[in-house]
């Protein structure tokens, strides 16, 4: 069974007092009874002895009146109820004797509440000529009542003591349970997600105070962990949001491109169909005599063929518009991550795809979808450079400052360099100048179209970026795309003056 601290303390106090209080009560009553009894007996015995001594003095026994007076005095002084002198068979009684009291000669004083008893004393009186016996009886009632009163008082004192100690137990228990309950409330609040409440408690109990301090430092740690977790979650959600947005744009773009490619393909086919129509019509027209129906008909065919050419031109314009870049200030890091996600899915496990991204990187001007395709093309080219052997493709970003030569002289500009390195065969010196030409390929038929790197070059130009290549035959090749940092991206761009320190 579970009970609170104060209830336990009260129960403990009650259990303790159930043993201690009866013992105390009986102890006290024993002491009180004995001491009062002793006092009483001492008193009545002294009184009796004094009377006997007086009766022995002089000739007291000779005068019955004197004897009676003395006996009366003893009754009055000692709360006696009976006094008599037995002398030679005669009896002199105090006239103050209580009626009905008979000489019983009992001397055992025992305290029995609620019972009237009389304590009898017999003393011999010795004179040279004769002997007599002094008989006295004292009422035990008053002293018994006194004892009983004292015992009642003891009982009350103990009851009051019991009440005080129970109250003290409850109060003390409360003072113990109060900080514990305070801790409990605080920990419940923490459990329900509110961390503001301090766990420190005001208490004189060292252990509880220390426990509170320890729990509070635990709470502080928890608050820190919670904040870190929340920040991480927010960042993760933002990254996910970003990725979703990128994926959506990529998908939209791909759909548009499919339409564009289709339209472009149709345009190509149509132009091939239109050329014979135009040429044959012109040939026929030249051979037909003017102002004949055939001549007019052929002219009409030719006109319609030209009109078809215009329509095809419109389709072409549309197909180009479908792939038009949307330049924006973007962070390349998620773009590289997205491209690698696609690339990893395409290459076999023998290719070790490595990433070198530290960041954060300053913003550059680019279209994320086109950038993904550019990275994909560079990666595909790097993979093909491995020629089905195992090797590595490393993709990464680097933030550098580069010297840019212009008409106004050299300036230094912040650049984000995208690099794709392969461990392939490298590029021969004579083929190097031609790698960005459309249709140029060193691969066999069906392995590459020869368009990948020209696409990379085209996209880089669209971004205002430049492509550089470093290669060593047998060692591998690195393609670097140098993106100028957007001026407002918060990363310092160094002008000549700033770097040279006014040396102009």
């Amino acid at each position: 069974m579970k009970t609170s601290i104060s209830v336990r303390m009260a129960m403990f106090a009650i259990a303790m007092h159930a043993i201690v209080l009866p013992a105390l009560y009986f102890g006290f009553s024993l002491v009180v009874t004995r001491s009062d009894t002793d006092l009483f007996l001492q008193h009545v015995r002294t009184l009796s002895r004094n009377l006997a001594e007086e009766l022995e003095l002089g000739d007291a026994l000779g005068s019955p009146t004197r004897v009676r007076n003395l006996l009366d005095q003893a009754v009055i002084n000692g709360d006696g109820v009976y006094a008599a002198l037995m002398d030679n068979g005669g009896e002199i009684r105090s006239e103050l004797n209580s009626p009905g009291v008979k000489w019983l000669g009992r001397q055992d004083f025992t305290f029995r509440p609620g019972r009237n008893q009389i304590y009898f004393i017999s003393l011999p009186i010795s004179r040279p000529n004769h002997t007599a016996e002094l008989r006295l009886g004292f009422d035990e009632q008053p002293i018994a009542e006194q004892i009983q009163f004292a015992m009642h008082r003891i009982l009350w004192v103990l009851v009051v003591y019991l009440c005080i100690s129970l109250t003290a137990a409850v109060v003390w228990g409360r003072s113990l349970s109060r900080p514990v309950m305070q801790l409990q409330r605080a920990s419940r609040k923490i459990a329900s997600g509110s961390y503001a409440q301090s766990m420190r408690v005001k208490t004189g109990i060292m252990e509880l105070h220390d426990l509170g301090s320890d729990l509070d430092s635990m709470r502080n740690e928890l608050v820190g962990v919670n904040q870190r977790l929340q920040i991480e979650m927010t960042e993760k959600m933002r990254a996910q949001e970003h990725r979703r947005e990128l994926e959506l744009r990529l998908r939209n773009r791909q759909r548009l491109e499919t339409v564009g490619t289709l339209a472009g393909g149709i345009a190509h086919e149509f132009n091939n169909v239109l050329l014979p129509i135009v040429l044959f019509s012109e040939a026929a027209l030249a051979e037909s005599s003017k102002s004949t129906a055939i001549h007019d008909d052929l002219q009409e065919i030719l006109n319609q063929a030209y009109r078809a050419k215009e329509v095809v031109q419109k389709i072409l314009t549309f197909s180009r518009g479908a792939g038009a870049p949307e330049l924006d200030s973007i962070d390349l890091k998620p773009v590289v991550e997205e491209a690698l996600l696609l690339f990893r899915a395409l290459v076999p496990a023998t290719v070790d795809v490595r990433v070198e991204l530290t960041g954060p990187y300053p913003l550059v001007r680019a279209d994320p979808v086109m950038a993904v395709q550019m990275i994909m093309n560079l990666c595909t080219n790097a993979y093909q450079a491995l020629q089905h052997r195992s090797g590595s493709v490393t993709v990464g970003l680097r933030h550098t400052v580069e010297q840019v030569d212009s008409e106004a002289g050299g300036t230094q500009r912040g650049m984000v360099v995208l690099f794709v390195t392969d461990s392939g065969q490298g590029i021969e010196a004579e083929t190097l100048p031609r790698i960005f030409e459309p249709f140029f390929t060193t691969r066999g038929v069906g392995e590459g179209t020869g368009l990948g790197l020209s696409v990379v070059h085209g996209i880089a130009e669209t971004f205002g970026a430049t492509v550089s290549v470093s290669t060593e035959v047998g060692q591998g090749t690195t393609f670097n795309v140098h993106f100028p940092v957007v001026a407002s991206s918060g990363v310092a761009e160094f002008s000549n003056e700033a770097v040279a320190g006014g040396s102009i």
Binding site: G260, I266, A267, N271, N272, L274, V278, L279, V312, S454
Partner: protein
């Protein structure tokens, strides 16, 4: 009489050019792909070659490059339907007509025509290229 070789994968285009150029007074041969055209050139000398750029297997740019390399005296006219082509993963904007026509020029084409062109256009281009070749010969 000038002799002309037409290399195009489209039969209708070959037939139409043959008709127009024969009528204009040229001796016209045709081939339906690059290697066949090169083989024909090796057998019989030709003054001017008209090459389509976009053809299956061996593309026109490679064909032009080979012709320019092996038969430098031959005048080359590149023709193309324009538009976009190639695998879907490449954007249409990057491989535009201009881009591959430009690469044809780099490869060694002396004139470039986009389909559909008029009979007069191709005759004019042939005359220009022939003069250029003639000029080059006189220079030599």
């Amino acid at each position: 009489m000038k002799s002309i070789l037409v290399i195009d994968d489209e039969p209708a285009v070959r037939k139409a050019l043959q008709r127009v150029l024969s009528k204009a007074g040229y001796a016209v041969q045709v081939a339906d792909n690059g290697p066949a055209g090169l083989a024909a050139l090796a057998i019989q000398s030709v003054d001017i070659v008209i090459v389509d750029i976009i053809m299956p297997d061996v593309n026109g740019v490679d064909t032009i490059r080979s012709i320019a390399l092996r038969f430098p005296e031959v005048g080359i006219i590149a023709i193309s339907g324009g538009g976009n082509f190639g695998p879907a993963q490449y954007q249409p904007y990057a491989i535009q007509t201009e881009a591959y026509l430009a690469s044809a020029a780099i490869a060694g084409a002396h004139a470039i025509l986009t389909k559909p062109f008029k009979s007069a256009d191709v005759v004019h281009a042939i005359a220009k290229v022939a003069n250029r070749v003639a000029g080059a010969e006189t220079l030599n």
